[in-house]
Symmetry: C2
Subunit: 70 residues, 2 copies
Amino acid sequence: MSTSEYQVTGMTCGHCEMSVREEVGTLPGVQDVQVSHETGRLVITAAEPLDDAAVIAAVDEAGYQAVRTS
Amino acid sequence: MSTSEYQVTGMTCGHCEMSVREEVGTLPGVQDVQVSHETGRLVITAAEPLDDAAVIAAVDEAGYQAVRTS
């Protein structure tokens, strides 16, 4: 089990959170996605460590920018 | 052909506009919906004059508040 955190900029509402959740949820091995438009915090739980570039690309696909924070 | 305008509060992004557009678009006779989260302006074109309460209820269903302006 692996948890990674990102700071996401550009989300303004629950719809934005849902877009991020959906895109990140398509990555293989993802088990849980917590995301808040209020804090910009994105916490992903996955079976194995995720590729940062894949996460950042998924968030970009949703229309936002992510930076790995931990 | 009838055009009516409303001021909508609470929209923050394009997803919000889409929600309003979808809900208002389900009202019978609606031919065009213009909506901006930046101005909050909602302009509906319909075959016949729409019932204000139905429009306000549709916007409420999307999660926002509308007030008729013209």
